[in-house]
């Protein structure tokens, strides 16, 4: 199975949650341990090993937060 | 040197073509429409663009877009149409987009009439749109000057990155006179700011929005400096027999030609009169008028307007040193004899005879 590598530009994240809503693996969540410069808990991948690199999170993201690679 | 008979409006259009105008965007309105018609006939063969816009609002915004490409572009209209264009002119001033706007004036307010008028003086010289800005306003007084000032207008527009207006009465637009055709302009200034696609360079942006207060202030200070430079370099006026004059007439456009004859008439009747003709209505020749006010006994504004509009500038220039009288009406252009009679009456009141 393909493995995805997701990079977050967390300082851009406004925590809208659109990426999380459509993640087919439902492996994304807000990082409640950090607050970015915009004042939000930025989104991150809670279980990176389960990411298949489909890119849907980046497709839904309005703010260019997410870069997706596939191995 | 070719000398031909031309309507003032046609002289403007031909002058624009000779100045390298590549785009005309207009909307029909009497008494300016011959300019659009001339351009519609000529532009296709010259590789230029003619668009009859859906409104004056669209036309001036086409000028905004066209000027942003760095091409020489123009529009022409009359009073009510110019009113509609004022928003766009404000944007052009702040976008610093060079272009030519022709106002062939008719009487107002409202729909008014299509007879000659100079009642657009306020909206031409006061930056009729919103915000702190000015545009250069040139007032020709013959068909020849309609051509020459059009060409000069494009040059000044490029030099100062500013809209330039030609303001002329409907009379002048429709007056047929001999015109010497000028040579076509072949050298143009570079416009590295133009919106042309960013091949091989950083993107250019044409924008008039400045949300941070510092930026708004910087932009307005920049424009203010530019207007100071225009004031110091571009004021144009003519004087006629003013040296020893007791009574100085001030008139522009076609009124200046008529007033000149009235000065000669009055002199023959023993009244020492003279004439100052502002050529740039903005920047206004305040200093020339101010100097005259120091040695004459009274001044007279002669306008095709009932309220009197330029008279306010004359009063500013005279600084209360001399009384400023008014001769003017709208809908018809007074003849020299009528003006002479009124000058005699004014001279009587002022004790000059």
């Amino acid at each position: 199975m393909a493995r995805g590598v997701v990079t977050f530009y967390s300082d851009r994240c406004k925590a809208c949650g659109l990426c999380m809503l459509f993640c087919p693996k439902q492996i994304m969540d807000f990082d409640k341990t950090s607050i970015n410069s915009l004042g939000y808990h930025p989104v991150s991948v809670a279980k990176p090993e389960e990411c298949n690199g489909c890119g849907i999170c980046a497709l839904m993201c309005p703010d260019l937060v997410i870069e997706v690679g596939r191995e | 040197m070719q000398r031909v008979l031309m309507k003032g409006n046609e002289a403007i259009a031909e002058g624009a073509i000779r100045a390298g105008c590549k785009g005309f965007f207009g909307y029909p309105i009497t008494p300016s429409s011959e300019i659009a018609e001339y351009m519609a006939r000529k532009m296709p063969a010259l590789g230029g663009v003619f668009v009859q816009a859906e409104s004056e609002l669209a036309a001036i915004n086409m000028v905004y877009g066209g000027a942003a490409t760095g091409s020489r572009v123009m529009t022409a209209s009359s009073g009510p149409g110019i009113s509609l264009k004022q928003e766009g002119i404000s944007f052009l001033a702040e976008g610093e987009l060079p272009c030519l706007i022709v106002d062939i004036c008719r009487g107002g307010p409202g729909l008014g009439g299509i007879q000659p008028s100079q009642a657009d003086y306020f909206q031409a010289t006061r930056g009729g749109g919103h915000g702190d800005y000015h545009i250069i306003v040139l007032a020709p007084s013959s068909a020849q000057e309609m051509m020459d000032f059009t060409m000069l207008g494009f040059e000044l527009a490029d030099k100062h990155r500013s809209p330039v207006m030609i303001m002329a009465e409907g009379t002048l637009g429709n007056l047929i006179e001999p015109v010497v055709l000028r040579d076509a302009v072949t050298e143009f200034v570079d416009k590295p700011w133009a919106i042309t696609g960013c091949r091989g360079r950083q993107p250019n942006i044409v924008n008039t929005l400045h949300m941070p207060v510092e930026l708004l202030q910087t932009r307005n200070q920049h424009l203010t400096k530019k207007y100071e430079a225009i004031r110091s370099e571009e004021i144009r006026s003519e004087e006629f027999m003013t040296e020893d004059a007791d009574l100085i007439l001030v008139a522009y456009g076609i009124m200046a030609r008529i007033a000149r004859k009235a000065v000669i008439n009055a002199r023959q009747l023993g009244l020492k009169t003279g004439l100052i003709r502002p050529i740039t209505l903005w920047p206004y020749p305040y200093e020339t008028l101010g100097r005259a006010a120091r040695h004459c006994k009274a001044m007279v504004s002669v306008e095709i307007s009932t309220v009197g509009q330029m008279i306010e500038d004359i009063r500013l220039a005279a600084e209360g040193k001399v009384p400023v009288h008014y001769i003017g009406e709208i809908g018809r252009t007074p003849n020299p004899e009528e003006i002479t009679q009124q000058l005699l009456a004014i001279a009587e009141r002022e004790g000059l005879r």
Partner: protein, 246 residues
Amino acid sequence: MKIIAKKPESLTGAKYHYCPGCTHGIIHRLVAEVMDELDIREQTIGICPVGCSVLAYDYFNCDMLEAAHGRAPAIATAIKRLLPDRYLFTYQGDGDLASIGMGEIVHASMRGEKITTIFVNNTLYGMTGGQMAPTTLLGQVTTTSPYGRKAEWEGYPAKMCELLSINEGAAYVCRTAVNNPANIIKTKKAIKKAFQIQAEGLGFTMVEVLSTCPTNWGLSPTDALKWMEEHMIPYYPLGEFKVKGE
């Protein structure tokens, strides 16, 4: 490693000022991805409107011009006529295009101007605080239709694709939405098709994109997507309304 998604070159990467979950950002990216894929960034000139996307000139990495409210199609007309080998796009909201700019958009489409309009419909004036737009749905509460839009008071919502597609000059008119991944992919295809039809010189092209305004709708970003699906799409059906030659 194969990169699946990253910032397109045709965006500057400046942080958007848009509210959380506002789909303007998605639409910006799609336009930019199309410019990248067609390799036309350096030949493209964009015109931004007055409204929420007024600052789009900071975001698109190509020559940009900021228009007076509603006048973008007139400006684009002149630029395209003077520079016919460039790609022109206007990016306009529903207040800008369907209200104050109704005249300009109708005439640009009737003249068949070879430009591409990206029309972002979120049913209200976002920037000024959520007032009623021509596109506001019947019954929808806005700050200037506080009792819900009523047909007898405010008339009916403007269907711009339907209106413009009857013009002979319109070569491509399509309505899409960005409420889910499938529709986002369709939106990008439509934008690409519009630019390609522009290049073929067939006439005016427009993609109306249904967009969200979570802030002024008073909904969370995810609920706003549902609202769009349940309320907007039934009134504003998706699909191609005009493809010249088809």
